[in-house]
Amino acid sequence: MVALLVRLKLTLLRNSLRRSVWRTVGLILGMVYGLAVVAAVVVGLIALRFTTTALTADVTVVAFTTLSVGWLLMSLLVFGVDETVDPSKFALLPVRSKDLLPGLLAGGLVGVPGVATVLISAGLIITWARTPALLAAAVVAFPLGVITCLLLARASTSAFAAVLASRRFRDLAFVGIALLGVSLGLGGNLIGAFASSDAGLLRQSLANLALVAGWSPFGWAWMIPADVARGQWLYAGIHLLLAAALVVVLWRAWGYLLAARLTSPVETAGESRKVRASSWVERLYPATPAGGVAGRCLRYWRRDPRYLAGIAGFMIAPVIIIVTQLANPDGLPELAAFAPALVGWLVGISIAQDLSYDGSAVWLHVSSGLRGADDRAGRIWATMTVYLPVTVLLFLAAFITSGEWGLLAPVTGLTAGLMLTGLGVGSLVGALWQWPAPPPGANPFQTSNTGGLPAVLSFTVTSFGTLIVCAPTIGLVIWSFFTPWVGYLALPVGLVSGFVVLRIGITQGGRILDRRWPELLKAVSEKAG
């Protein structure tokens, strides 16, 4: 049964690769990336052999506990139920859950994350192979730790299968991951800033962290060699018992949940989400076609997780810059003051991909004979409604925290210039290139369709085109570093040139749309894969 299920998983993997070249490319990229991570971690673990056992203990416990937590979080948020060998697909077959368990567990090892985890965990043995006792402890910890990782993923996804299948959860998870990315970037930078200021403090917090991690269920197995290294044999015994007990409990729990799923396969619950018939969005814009487009887009900014994740994504860089430059005593407050300009620069990209996000639903624009310019203008209104307050907030945050009020004119000029230009360029580019994007609510990590050449063109031309078109304003801002009064020129130049570009973007982009609506419809609705 084990061999059969592992073979099934391999066959499914091979068939999915045969379906599209991009999947193969994706798998190879994943393998290269996974291999690089494994190599880096193993080199790090070998390097730890040249340090003290105390440091090795703290580092390995924290790192491997993170690995276990990662398995839990990633399987819950990103991968969801492993759909290739979904247990409910076995519901029609005469098999018992306890026959399936070992095979499904082994199947979990097939794939980049599984193999990488085994290799990385094997590195634990290398780093602890210092005395026979430590080696023995590591050899015991290795399988316990790996099996705990796999069981955590399986048991949790089986337990929450019904929740994971619901669309609302997927939407939330999508935004959650984007925010997690922001906080990880921030956290990493902050830790870096602190580490450079006080190494002793860092060492102490690592030790504290290791203590907490080691006594949490995720760290029980990984703590065994660390206890032995400290000579705390009693604790080692306790951790061994706890880790073994955890494996047994998780195994039992998973078996129970699996048996339940075999008799009652999860079906996506028919949720019925009502919206409040709010009219403020409708009053915000005029009752014209362009106003209709704006209102519809604004609602999508709130209801479509792709847009929410987009906002989070665009905010990462400026927030990181502001926080790190101010948290770091050697930072540049001037740089923090200019951070809002970054959002201005990136907004155009969002406009450029807007039509692709609509997918085949855009037939409505085509068949209702909507003027291209109305389509462009409506989307810009909605984007402005979302990003203007966000940018103003970022602006205030940047200036109040940095105190660089002397830079107000050039920063305003640059931000406004980049934003207006970006929207103009994005409107034009968005009319030129579209691609079939995964629909809202689809798990973006299960789609290997990245949009291909049009997406790359759209992104590159928008971001660089904005910089080129906005060159006069950018030039003035750079000049103002040497001759400060020039900064006051940047403001009117940025605003005026920006509005001109925006105007051209709307009319010309609209004209392109009027010419190629049917071709556009074909481009966005091509089947993925």
Binding site: G295, D358, G369, L521
Partner: protein, 256 residues
């Protein structure tokens, strides 16, 4: 009097495959017109080209005298369209979607409000007006799509498989809406592969296969004394498994 819909020499190829081949069709005003054909006959492709969603390789499409491809604004303003197999802006509620279509179609705001309420009521969607369309069942999605096609009071309705996945009760509701609409001078062109439906609802029809019109005219003309089902099968070249081809089966059961 100009036709409600006039297709002349419409042609479209996808790669090697010729999906629609020199197709001609005239639909007179005030008519319920059925477009029937087997799967892959080119019905959806034809309707897409007639509604301005797909650019034809050759040929013309005119709606009440306005060319869809040279004067799209006028032609599209007269048409209400329900395509098949495309998404809607489904993160809007039913009421929001109707309002959106109304605004795109430049319907006065007061009319949008009253017409939406009436359409939702007629299609028994009032209880779900504030539910997101993505949560709708397939039948409900068809119905809200039909409401979207009607909100600007078009002169010509083009419906691709309007009854698919619609339950019998709602189906009867849609029928009466369409009959009233045609009685009021409107023209309906709908595709279907359910012969009984076309037979009970349409005045005229065309049988399409392999991108060509095989027969067109009033129901009686096309039926030519037979049932529509038999005539249709004959036209598309399906030779029913007759008595002889079943003979071996019968004889084997006899012999045993």
């Amino acid at each position: 009097m100009t036709s409600a819909l006039s297709l002349v020499g419409l042609t479209k190829s996808f790669g090697q495959k010729r999906a629609v081949d020199q197709l001609d069709l005239e639909v007179r005003r005030g008519c319920m017109f059925g477009l029937v054909g087997p799967n892959g006959a080119g019905k959806t492709t034809t309707l897409s080209m007639a509604t301005g969603l797909l650019r034809p390789d050759a040929g013309r499409a005119e709606v009440l005298g306005h060319d869809v491809w040279t004067d799209p604004a006028a032609a599209k303003g007269l048409m209400g369209v329900l395509p098949d197999g495309v998404r809607l802006f489904d993160r809007l509620s039913g009421a929001e979607l109707l309002r959106y279509v109304g605004l795109l179609r430049k319907v006065p705001l007061a009319d949008i409000v009253t017409r939406s309420a009436e359409l939702l009521e007629a299609l028994s969607l009032t209880a779900d007006r504030d539910t997101l369309v993505v949560e709708y069942s397939a039948g409900m999605t068809k119905k809200i799509g039909l409401a979207c096609a009607l909100i600007h009071a078009p002169r010509l309705l083009i419906l691709d498989e309007p009854f698919e996945a619609v339950d019998p009760v709602s189906g009867e509701g849609i029928r009466s809406i369409l009959r009233n609409y045609a009685r009021g001078g409107g023209t309906v062109v709908m595709s279907s592969h359910v012969m009984e439906l076309v037979e009970s609802l349409c005045d005229e029809l065309a049988v399409v296969a392999q991108g060509r019109v095989l027969a067109a005219g009033t129901l009686d003309e096309v039926r030519a004394g037979s049932t529509l089902q038999q005539r249709f099968l004959g036209l598309v070249g399906f030779t029913a498994a007759g008595e002889e081809s079943l003979a071996w089966l019968r004889s084997s059961s006899d012999s045993s």
